[in-house]
């Protein structure tokens, strides 16, 4: 963003630097900026929804526009805000936590970002091209086939491009964790954030292809006369629901597990205690991920799959509560006997625990298949998943951003404003969503453009809207804080929180090669071990030598741009096929160029390294 060196460098070269970077730390910043942008966009859409529902029979926005807004709110928040923000944290932190100089595939990492970015832009162009998708983020067939504008095509193609990017990111992190760990960093010494990111990446790998196929089928049906979801031609609309939720349910865990990881870093740091029950935390993470693939049909209890299927999926779903409960209690007992510092990341962790517990409780209630006949597709469900996703994922992301901000930028966000942000957001959140549980039970289905007067729904909807404004103001404070902090640019040390893990052993922000010498890891919480048993500095595992680094590349940007252009051709067809030819040609050409041109990286020489500091956090 703005280190002094870059300020001198001028805008053009900074831009080129970011367009071509393969450095995981810069890609993290790209993900962060893009993710926050889409988060604000999704937030504005949320505000439109809440204003429309402030009073019964309101005509603030039209029914059609409302459906577009609700669809884009969900799609944006899940795919374009939460996912990239999680990737931002993973990129910023994960390689540092395992003592790696970069990720396994720096080029693919960059490609993943640009695919996500162009997919997101593609999706949002729909607003200006005849209307956004209007069928809900779940895009159930055949409603998605009935939708007349090109909105759903923007949805299917945009998400397809974004999805490729996510898939690549996932594979990249899996291999990074498996192959790139520093000496001594065994699996059972990996920090929990690395563990949960690793497992989330595995989930991405096995969940996203189902979405890919679903989106292909949708595209074929809409644009090429396919019959997958056309009952007249023998098609079956339930196939979409299965594919979507085979992806969609693991997606929930992809979102929440890294947040669990963030809190599992923050709570030990600010309690000055090692994580209670580390191995059971790891085990619970794996178990949640495993069970996460067996429960997709709990989104489909009312579809009519029959009582046997419903019962099996109900019980399997309930089972997930057990490992999740283990995690909650482990966090509590990490704090037990500790020495708790109420910094803003810790306060957010403390806000997370009861909030997520409520989200988990309603989750178990929803798992009860018969009772779900009442909850399903009502505001009860809306309340539930916002408790989990906002109370878990979003709080986790913001806690993580604040916690690792010094590591990413070398500056410290203002603590006072952080607390203001948290309390406004947190209280606003509970006002918004707590009462939605009751709205649902009182008979208000979700995705309702209007609710009618005299049905007892007025008061809670009003409270909910008021709460939403609280969340909005909180977010604005956070953004002001970011701008102010970066304007001031006050540098902090490499370990401002007195933390425990490896990333805090090096300067903030870290040099582009991260570790001058490969670190030797001597236990869980590597830095803490050295603080207690050594001189507080990580021992090197190798003598100072040349460091191999990857070359920067503009190719990922071009590959993604090609698919972006091709998307329009595939959608509008006719004369526009030329765009598809140009786009696919660009992509294929760029891939071929990448394949044919040798790219073996370069070395940072020992002599240059010797001139710089000792590579520690001091």
């Amino acid at each position: 963003m703005s280190t002094t060196a870059e300020k001198k460098a001028g805008f053009g070269s900074v831009l080129w630097d970011y367009l071509t970077t393969v450095d995981h730390k810069k890609i993290a910043i790209l993900y962060l900026v893009a993710g926050l942008f889409f988060f604000i966009l999704g937030g504005l859409q949320a505000m439109l929804i809440r204003i429309q529902l402030i009073a019964p029979d309101n005509e603030f926005i039209s029914a059609q526009f409302y459906n577009e807004v609700l669809t884009m709110h969900g799609t944006t928040m899940i795919f374009l805000a939460a996912m990239p923000l999680i990737f931002a944290l993973m990129n910023a932190v994960l390689p540092l936590q395992i003592g790696a100089r970069d990720v396994a595939f720096p080029f693919i990492n960059s490609l993943g970002f640009w695919l996500f970015f162009f997919g997101g832009i593609f999706l949002n162009i729909s607003w200006f091209a005849g209307g956004a998708p209007d069928v809900g983020w779940t895009a159930y067939a055949p409603l998605s086939l009935f939708s007349e504008s090109h909105g759903v095509d923007y949805y299917s193609i945009g998400l397809q491009i974004t999805g490729f990017g996510t898939l690549m990111g996932g594979i990249n992190f899996i291999v990074t964790v498996v192959n790139m760990r520093a000496p001594g960093m065994t699996y059972m010494r990996m920090p929990l954030f690395t563990w949960t990111s690793f497992i989330a990446s595995v989930l991405i790998l096995f969940a996203f292809p189902a979405l890919t196929v679903g989106l292909f089928l949708l595209t074929f049906d809409r644009l090429f006369g396919g019959n997958f979801f056309d009952p007249e031609m023998g098609g079956n609309v339930i196939i979409w629901e299965h594919l979507f939720w085979i992806f969609g349910h693991p997606e929930v865990y992809i979102l929440i597990l890294p947040a669990f990881g963030v809190f599992s870093e923050i709570i030990p740091t600010f309690s000055k205690k090692r994580l209670f029950g580390y191995s059971s935390m790891v085990f619970a993470t794996i178990l949640i991920a495993f069970l996460g693939f067996m429960v997709w049909a709990h989104h489909m209890f009312t579809v009519g799959l029959g009582p046997i299927a419903n019962s099996i999926f109900a019980v399997a779903t309930m089972a997930i509560a057990v490992p999740t409960g283990i995690k909650i209690f482990n966090w509590l007992f990490t704090m037990w006997g500790g020495s708790i510092r109420l910094t803003s990341p810790m306060v957010m962790a403390l806000g997370f625990i009861p909030t997520f517990t409520i989200g988990g409780m309603t989750g178990v209630m929803l798992a009860s298949a018969a009772a779900d006949f009442q909850y399903h597709d009502t505001y009860f469900v809306v309340a539930h998943f916002h408790y989990v996703i906002v109370g878990g994922t979003v709080l986790g992301i913001f806690a993580g951003i604040i916690y690792w901000w010094p590591k990413m930028f070398g500056t410290m966000l203002n603590e006072k404003l952080n607390h203001w942000f948290f309390w406004l957001f947190f209280i606003g959140f509970h006002l918004t969503f707590f009462f939605q549980h009751f709205l649902g039970l009182m008979g208000m289905p979700r995705r309702y453009w209007k609710f009618l007067p005299d049905q007892g729904l007025d008061l809670f909807n009003l409270i909910s809207t008021i709460g939403a404004f609280g969340m909005a103001i909180g977010t604005i404070i956070f953004l002001i804080n970011v701008v102010m902090t970066q304007m001031k640019g006050e540098k902090v040390s490499g370990d401002p929180w007195d933390a425990r893990t490896l990333e805090w052993a090096i300067p903030s922000p870290p040099p582009f090669y991260n570790f001058k010498q490969e670190p030797l890891v001597r236990g869980l919480d590597a830095l803490w071990v050295e603080k207690m048993q050594g001189n507080g500095k990580i021992q090197p595992a190798e003598p100072l030598g040349d460091i191999h680094m990857p070359n920067r590349s503009f190719v990922p940007f071009v590959i993604s741009l090609g698919l972006f252009i091709a998307g329009f051709g595939v959608m509008y067809q006719g004369a526009m096929w030329i765009l598809a030819a140009i786009g696919f040609g660009t992509t294929a050409g760029a891939m071929l160029y990448r394949s044919v041109k040798d790219d073996i990286g370069y070395h940072v020489h020992k002599e240059e390294l010797e001139e710089e500091g000792d590579g520690s956090n001091g």
């Binding site: 009751f438 453009w449 007892g456």
Partner: protein, 394 residues
Amino acid sequence: MKGWMTRFKAVMALTVMALILSGCGEPFLSTLQPRGEGAAMLLELIILSTVIMLFVFVVVMAIYIYVVIKFRQKEGQEDFIPKQTEGSHALETLWTVIPIILLLILAVPTVQYTFTFADVNNPEVSQEGEELDQIWIDVTGKQYWWHFEYEGLDITTSQEIYIPTDRRVYLSMISDDVIHSFWVPSIQGKMDVNPTGNRNEMWLQADEEGVYWGKCAELCGPSHSLMDFKVIAVSPGEFEEWVEDMQGVTGEEEPETTTAQAGQETFEENCLSCHAVGSSPNKVGPNLTNFADRDKLAGVFDMTEENLFEWIDTKGEEMKPGNLMVDAPYDLNEEEINQVIEYLMTLSPSEVTPESADNGVYIDSDLSDLFPEEEEEDAEESEEDEETDENDEE
């Protein structure tokens, strides 16, 4: 099974009180004020799970509050290093086993109820031990209204179904376009209405007479939130009367006033290709047999002549965005519309209307007259057919 259920009753009563105090919506809409067997069972399950979950929450919060108060960093002790505990097998076993037990307590009734709700094949038995005749209604969901056909009773209606309070009524549901979901919160949970060949079946049962609001619960287009319908539960005797009155409608009845007669003519010329009066398989648009008795216009609007005028005049374009009537080719002037309205307002074949659900009158019947023995039924049906044929010729 029943044993632990009663043990929970006391706790449940408290919870119910708490829920009522917190405001639980309107009795015709809220799941928290069940007026039928299904919703009552589901509320039991909801309360059971709430109680279990509140127990967990209280435990978590107790530890949480204790920890946060007790273990804050004390002033002057910034350098204090707490003991680095690895974990505790005993504790970890404890918080694995107890949740499993709690979940089993919830899982058993969940499975049991799931099967109960799926059961549509066991005929109910009356107190005298006789098998009750099953009423089956074919439901078709359409953007954005509902079509109902009473199987074997030769009645078609839309937007509002009448059911007797003495038994379960069975629904067989399918959609003509996109997926909808049929939900009457205060008497029964919801079920999706799918377009793909497979009909979903469920049952409805209302304990008390009343007009219950139904909602579409699956996003189906712009007017998803306006796809309301009503379930009108009346006493068995009233239901029987209603059925007989509805069966009598042929659509050929001539209204009394001349304006209405003119309206009927206009209606037949412009509207009959989509709408029908009397029993008919035509479901392009809503069946209007008892239109004037409707509680609401188009499911959500007050049944006033102004609203009706606007609807016919604008084809509901603004009132129900995205509704398919906007494609109807008719073009009526103000006078014709008023005539049609006058005609429509005569479509009130029965004394039994939504008011009958609230008037406190209870008429008993076992409804066996509606379901004559098989052979008789066939004979009567053919006679009736002949009669209607003759009428048609006239």
